[in-house]
């Protein structure tokens, strides 16, 4: 069985590697086009204000300025709703986020834009655009925004219930109320021997990708719009832009450039429609690059949250009931991450009775965007600490307690049918027998914490095609933008299917005119779904190649068999490469194609073990040792699976210990630079050890589960549990930055 695969499970050098270590890869910012000019956005200095007047006359007169646009240049999008492949989106809100009209809803909200001969002139011109505001009271904390006397952001937002009806009277900042119930929680809590209940808060954090948002648009004289951009999904960028501009998708080509990180934050459009409007006015390619401050202030952070969790268990550790109350901010426009938050809060447990309530709340922050397992990390920070406390109160090992209550095949998760085959128990067992878990942790102010994490694997649509070259190599075109090495993990699945080497497949990411519709790179879906498409492309190529072999041998195609890269019939055989060389004469070129929309999405489970030391004098927490476990189903390229586990974990550690949007009393972010936002550096961390568990996913021919998102979920809770075991202080607020930990320690010492 160990030799079942020839390519899968090996670690080839990635196909785009040489370009990326020599600086040759072309990212969005590297694009240079003839006649290209530069755009710049004018942004609101206020967190909440009415726009009274915009005067663009001085900017228009500046030498070197070619175009100025405001929301008046966007079509009227009121009452328009678009299905963007991830549920319907209110276009008026999407449009107003791209260019504000009537009101600005957060500091950094785009109000106008200018194009000029170079970026310096564009910047000067932006300063000449006069915007008159009437400042309004702002609100930036989710519970404050829910109060009846809170400043209202919108006059068209009402509280919707699960069925789409109205859950309240009049307009509100609460745009959605969710309720999931099973069994009878009050009766169950009454029967519990131990009940733990706690409240938790998390601050907004940013995805933090190193490449700022960048887009270049050319609205040509024939009316065709081409956009080169850094996006997680060329097709969704095309559709959002076409809908916002009210033009057919066929009029827009989106060329996805190499992308410098996304983590969910490069799914919504920000610059694309604005660059397009500017280009329509000046008929030149317009390039727009955000500054780092614009990225922080104008693009999606993750929700700030308030979560209350209550869990009850019998003396033997069997959990009988769970209750959760979650309020997540959505930023300035409705539609945040509350749904997944509710569905993930108890996703690692088999709970017979639960009640989960969730609130989606608008307030004066940038519209939230997905960030790696969006909504799950906040929920796990709460639930996994309550589970840790429950284990301590019951005197049960925290992994034993989790094993006793672990979700398994057939367990019904909140808001979802029963789980298919999953690997949580195997993951817990792997952690329990790992040397790290058994190693003693000695010394004062040191402690160990564990936590589990969960995220869905969505399926969604992927397309791919491939042509067989006469030298026996295969050129693969797929539609998933490659953020972390997926070209290679997808190409390896095609290579395995054809019995050729990974290096014999040349993968490329196509633009929206050269490959079939493909959903975003997100939801831990690419290696799973686009990999499935590559496998099916391989089957299609095999079928066509068998026809060529049948012509060669003058037999029927169904008499030809294929195994390990060789076609055979009645003692005759020919290798893939040899047959490829003859394919053109034997019936023409071989081109395989596939599109998939796999049903039955699967699930990814992981676990973190964190050892920390807390400095009692400063409150600073140091990670001493960290091991991360995850069920990958089948690791196609183990190095890149480990890379996802390590990278997600470190983002989670940053979220745990440092990162936050720091707001002043006027609702303005005060730390919109990398220096002040302070993401983890190499010096802040030890090596991150990884253990890949492989419980094959029956819904994928190679058993793949997505691995990208789960690793961020457990770390904040694992680190919090470790801090508790180091100090005896339970940290219920993120980030657990030195001042907060120090204050909490001081309180207990008094």
């Amino acid at each position: 069985m160990a030799e079942r695969f020839k390519v899968i499970g090996t670690r080839p050098v990635r196909h785009d590697g040489a370009d990326k270590v020599t600086g040759r890869a072309i990212y969005g910012g590297d694009l240079q086009l003839a006649g290209m000019v530069h755009g710049k956005i004018v942004r609101s200095p206020h967190a909440h204000a009415r726009i009274k007047r915009i005067d663009i006359s001085a900017a228009e007169k500046l030498s070197g300025v070619l175009a100025v646009v405001t929301a008046a240049d966007l079509p009227d999008l009121r009452d328009k709703v678009a299905d963007l492949g991830e549920g319907s989106v209110n276009l008026a809100h999407l449009g107003a986020n791209v260019l504000a009209h009537q009101k600005v809803l957060y500091k950094g909200h785009a109000v106008a834009a200018v194009a000029a001969v170079n970026s310096h002139v564009a910047e000067e011109a932006a300063k000449l655009i006069r915007v008159e505001y009437e400042p309004l009271p702002a609100v930036t904390w989710v519970l404050d925004a829910m109060k009846p006397d809170a400043p209202l952001l919108h006059d068209d937002v009402y509280t919707e219930d699960m069925a789409g009806g109205r859950a309240g009277e009049g307009t509100s900042n609460v745009s959605k109320y969710l309720l999931f119930e099973e069994g009878d929680i009050e009766k169950a809590f009454a029967s519990a021997d131990v009940v733990v209940e706690r409240e938790f808060k998390t601050a907004s954090v940013h995805q933090g990708y190193i490449e700022p948002h960048v887009s270049t648009a050319l609205w040509n004289h024939d009316g065709h719009l081409t956009i080169w951009t850094a996006t997680q999904g060329a097709f969704t960028a095309r559709q959002q832009t076409a809908e916002l501009l009210q033009i057919p998708v066929s009029q827009v080509t989106v060329v996805p450039c190499e992308i410098g990180g996304g983590f969910g934050g490069k799914i919504p459009v920000y610059l694309e429609p604005v660059a397009a409007l500017l280009s329509r006015k000046c008929r030149r390619p317009v390039k727009m690059v955000m500054t780092r401050a614009e990225v922080f202030e104008g693009t999606g952070p993750t929700p700030g949250s308030f979560v209350r969790v209550r869990l009850g268990a019998k003396k033997d550790g069997r959990m009988v009931a769970g209750q959760a109350w979650l309020a997540y901010d959505a930023g300035a426009y409705p539609g945040g991450m509350i749904g997944p938050g509710c569905m993930c809060v108890f996703s690692c447990y088999d709970l017979p009775n639960y009640k989960v309530e969730g609130y989606d709340v608008v307030l004066n922050k940038p519209k939230t965007a997905a960030y790696r397992a969006p909504g799950a990390t906040q929920a796990a920070f709460a639930a996994e600490q309550v589970v840790d406390e429950l284990a301590e109160r019951l005197g049960i090992d925290p992994i034993d307690l989790r094993l006793k209550n672990a979700a398994r095949e057939g367990t019904k998760r909140v808001g979802w049918p029963a789980y298919p085959k999953i690997g949580l128990i195997e993951t817990l067992e792997a952690a329990q027998r790992h040397p790290h878990y058994r190693a003693p942790i000695a010394g004062p102010n040191r402690g160990r914490g564990v936590a589990t994490g969960f995220w869905f694997n969505i399926g969604l649509k992927s397309s791919a095609s491939a042509s067989v070259n006469p030298d026996g190599t295969v050129t693969l075109i797929e539609g998933s933008t490659d953020i972390g090495g997926t070209r290679t993990s997808v190409a390896m699945q095609l290579a395995e299917t054809l019995g050729i080497a990974a290096e014999d497949v040349r993968p490329q990411v196509g633009d929206t005119d050269s490959v079939g519709y493909t959903d975003v790179t997100g939801g831990s879906r690419v290696t799973f779904a686009t990999g499935l498409a590559a496998y099916q492309v391989g089957l299609d190529i095999r079928r066509q190649m068998a026809e060529r072999a049948a012509t060669l041998w003058d037999c029927k195609a169904d008499e030809v068999t294929f195994d390990g890269g060789t076609f055979r019939r009645n003692g005759e055989s020919i290798g893939f490469k040899q047959l490829a060389a003859k394919a053109n004469e034997l019936g023409g070129p071989v081109v395989g194609r596939a599109s998939v929309d796999p049903a039955g999405p699967t699930n990814g489970f992981g676990l973190s073990i964190a050892d920390v030391e807390v400095d009692p004098d400063t409150g600073k927490t140091t990670i001493l040792r960290y091991t991360v476990f995850q069920d990958a189903g089948k690791a196609i390229h183990p190095s890149y699976v480990e890379g996802q586990m390590q990278g997600g974990t470190v983002q989670g550690i940053g979220w745990a210990l440092n990162e936050e949007y720091f707001y002043d009393g006027e609702g303005r972010m005060r730390n919109a630079s990398y220096l002040d936002y302070r993401m983890p550096t190499a010096l802040d961390l030890p090596m991150i050890d990884t253990v890949i568990i492989e419980v094959p996913n029956p819904a994928h021919p190679f058993g793949v589960r997505g691995v990208g998102e789960t690793p961020i979920v457990a770390p904040p809770a694992a680190v919090a549990n470790a801090i508790y075991h180091a100090t005896g202080v339970r940290m219920c607020e993120l980030p657990m930055s030195p001042p907060k930990v120090w204050a909490a320690l001081s309180k207990t010492q008094r």
């Binding site: 990635r14 020599t22 600086g23 953020i483 220096l675 190499a682």
Partner: protein, 161 residues
């Protein structure tokens, strides 16, 4: 339009002349005037290290250096790290160790690592982490980057012995 200055430098071993405005950074000159776009812009205020180049052998954030300060300087960018025949061992180890995901920070890390190994051929893990703290990576968690630099150091040492 502001008047431009005429600068003479050596970039990646070749004499290079360029014109630039006083307000243009070296990063902007490299990317927009000289089309050496391997040097990346991540923050444009010296916090992320994506724009790291060697100036007279010393790693600098090219976004914090003015183009007009480059007169007479010897500059090495990511485009000058490999030779005609081979990738530099640091580049090769980044590939073999999967030390990049999106790759936007990679040129800066490789240039910083080159400066470190030129100065200190056998650094400890702590010394590597200290030096690489100049550069931010959001994808990898640094583990594989640190290992790649360790492996490159070993490989360079073996070649030297």
């Amino acid at each position: 339009m502001p008047r431009k200055s005429h600068l003479q430098t050596t970039i990646n071993g070749q004499p290079v002349e360029f014109l630039c405005e006083n307000r243009q950074s070296l990063l902007e000159v490299l990317r927009d005037e000289l089309r050496l776009t391997g040097t990346k812009e991540g923050c444009n205020n010296g916090n992320c290290g994506a724009c790291t180049v060697l100036m007279n052998g010393v790693p600098v954030n090219s976004c914090l250096v003015l183009g007009v300060e480059a007169e007479g300087a010897e500059i090495t960018t990511i485009e000058g790290i490999a030779d005609e025949a081979h990738l530099h061992p640091i580049q090769q180890c980044f590939l073999e160790d999967a030390a990049l995901q999106c790759g936007i920070c990679t040129p800066g890390f490789i240039v910083t690592a080159k400066a470190l190994l030129d100065r200190n051929p056998s650094p400890t893990e702590q010394q590597i982490r200290f030096e690489l703290a100049n550069n931010l990576c959001r994808c990898t968690g640094y583990d594989k980057i640190v290992r790649a630099v360790q492996h490159a150091a070993e490989r360079l040492q073996e070649a030297a012995n």
